[in-house]
């Protein structure tokens, strides 16, 4: 029994929506990073599923690159959070409000 492609696509879409909601609604810097990871992994999952559907390896190789990029992105994000925490003693993004339109 194989899982049909539509299951993967739906699951990826749900995962993507959860990640986007996490980025937009959460206040903690760490939760926002998690949301970004979910969005990237939703795209990864869709890529792998589509790659299998097309019978190609391109997409799976691409996913390795995306994983490496995601790791670098988290490193940068966490470093920024540490710098902000040192200065403000908080990683609540609502407190980043020095500049307003």
């Amino acid at each position: 029994m194989t899982v049909p492609i539509s299951h993967f696509v739906t699951f990826a879409a749900v995962l993507f929506a959860i990640g986007a909601a996490g980025v937009l609604l959460r206040r903690s810097g760490i939760s926002i990073l998690l949301g970004i990871e979910l969005m990237l992994n939703a795209a990864n999952l869709a890529l792998v599923a589509f790659g299998r559907q097309h019978g190609q390896l391109d997409a799976q190789v691409f996913v390795f690159f995306v994983m490496a990029v995601a790791a670098a992105e988290v490193a940068v994000g966490l470093a920024l959070l540490v710098a902000i925490f040192r200065k403000q003693r908080s990683i609540d993004v609502d407190r980043l409000n020095v500049m307003r339109w």
């Binding site: 969005m39 890529l47 690159f65 992105e73 940068v76 500049m99």
Partner: protein, 483 residues
């Protein structure tokens, strides 16, 4: 294999030299601003020479690394532009970093890494290569925006840029995966063939829409522009100058390559989306700039507006549209780096010296510098005989010839609106007296001044003799739409 490496040599070389600068910065400590800056400029110049040699040694129509990478005229034009931008920004940063007492090593290395990313974006003809280049550029720029770690504003800029930038990358990647699912390819030429032969399903169209959202974010177009003013205001000023021209030009290179190259068969579905975004961008960018008192913030809104003008060229499409965008990027680069150079000169007390009121009476105290700023403001506003006028003329001509008269009407009206806030600075400099007890003055920054001079001369030369530059852009643009 050998030809592959020759085509990639400029990127390889710049990445290696960037690591060398990073290590040299760690080894030499704080004091070596001059040495490291000179090293970075030499590295960028050497990469330029390598680019020239590599371009001579390879066939512009050839594909490298199994069809993933090209070194066509379009890529060469953008790479040369990126190297020029990076070199000017390194020179601008020299006095600024010294004055604010930050280490130059990592900073210069990150500027060079971002340049490697931009060069990869200009050469990629495979969505995977373009994505990796984009992320290399974006990650380097996030760190640079937060480089002034003793400043709260710089942190805030980096955090906002990072969160929104990473989210837009996620959206872009998801769109990319849907397009791959619908067509089974990441290669732009194959993508165009597949899309032309079969009617695309809804998932491909959703993918294109998401991809367009990601790209519009990267060029800072409305409605994906909210990060721009905060990031531009909070980032170190030379980095603001860099972000407003380098990554923006790179995003346009990728936008042109992917949309006019790979997604051309779907033009009917995306062209109205980009057209509406262009109109909204021009309107909102210019109108919001009117109310700004902080000059960096005003220039941020102005850069949003300029992205709108360049999008007009993208909508026009065809060789004329593409080469007008290329020419405009060149014009905008020299003009905006010059304008930010002036802001750097005036920033005497950390973040102070940025408000419009600080410009009062500067023409009397610093006539030469004020004249330079006058030139840049006229060029941004699009007044002859400056480069900005020529850039807009060719953009709008291309759009009119392609039948987008309504878009050009919006663009011309908004250019007129933009004159108000550009000339407000000129007015302050020439007609007002500084009233404060402590009028702002320009700091001594020899390299920044030289960059301003060079940009001022370039603005005038391109404005008076546009033919050779336009011919260069025209020769370079040929390849993109017709992969």
């Amino acid at each position: 294999m050998r030809a592959d490496l020759i085509a990639l040599l400029p990127e390889l070389m710049l990445a290696t030299l960037a690591m060398a600068v990073l290590l040299a910065g760690l080894a030499s400590g704080k004091a070596r601003h001059g040495l490291l800056g000179a090293g970075a400029v030499l590295a960028l110049a050497a990469t330029g020479v390598t680019l020239w040699l590599a371009a001579g040694a390879t066939d512009p129509g050839a594909h490298f690394f199994s069809g993933m990478f090209v070194l066509d005229h379009f890529a060469i034009f953008f790479k040369a532009l990126f190297l020029l931008t990076a070199a000017l920004v390194v020179l601008l940063s020299h006095d600024y970093l010294k004055r604010n007492d930050y280490r130059p090593g990592e900073y210069l290395a990150l500027v060079m890494f971002a340049t490697v990313g931009m060069m990869t974006m200009a050469s990629g003809v495979n969505l995977a290569v373009i994505y990796v280049g984009l992320e290399l550029m974006a990650l380097s720029t996030y760190i640079l925006a937060g480089y002034f770690r003793r400043e709260v504003k710089s942190h805030e800029a980096a955090a906002k840029y990072f969160v929104l930038g990473a989210m837009s990358s996620g959206i872009l990647l998801y769109g990319l995966s849907l397009i791959y699912g619908a067509t089974g390819t990441l290669d732009l030429a194959t993508l165009a063939r597949v899309l032309a032969s079969a009617k695309p399903g809804p998932s491909a169209l959703v993918g294109v829409a998401l991809l367009a959202c990601g790209f519009l974010f990267k060029v800072a177009a409305v409605p994906f522009h909210v990060w721009t003013p905060d990031v531009y205001e909070g980032a170190p000023t030379p980095i603001t100058a860099f972000m407003s021209v380098g990554p923006k030009a790179a995003a346009f290179a990728m936008f042109l390559r992917v949309f006019i190259g790979g997604l051309a068969p779907l033009a009917a579905s995306w062209i109205w989306l980009v057209g509406v975004a262009a109109a909204l961008t021009m309107i909102w960018g210019n109108v919001a700039a009117l109310t700004q008192d902080n000059v960096k913030r005003m220039l941020a809104y102005s850069s949003i507006a300029h992205a709108g003008y360049a999008l007009v060229g993208l909508v026009a499409g065809g060789p004329a549209g593409v080469n007008s965008v290329l020419f405009y990027m060149l014009v905008y680069t020299v003009t905006n780096i010059g304008a930010f150079g002036f802001v750097i000169l005036l920033e005497s007390r950390g973040y102070a010296g940025e408000t419009v009121a600080d410009y009062a009476g500067l023409a009397r105290r610093h006539p030469a510098a004020a004249f330079g700023m006058l030139l840049f403001m006229l060029s941004l506003g699009g007044i002859p005989p400056t480069a900005g006028f020529m850039g807009k003329l060719y953009l709008f001509a291309a759009a009119v010839n392609a039948g987008y008269v309504w878009l050009v009407v919006v663009a011309v009206l908004m250019s007129a609106v933009s004159l108000y806030y550009y000339l407000r600075i000129v007015l302050q400099m020439y007609l007002r007296e500084g009233d404060g007890a402590e009028p702002a003055t320009l700091v001594a920054a020899p390299w920044t001044e030289r960059v301003i001079w060079a940009c001022g001369v370039a603005v005038l030369v391109i404005g008076l003799l546009p033919a050779p530059f336009l011919a260069a852009a025209r020769a370079m643009a040929g390849a993109v739409g017709l992969l």
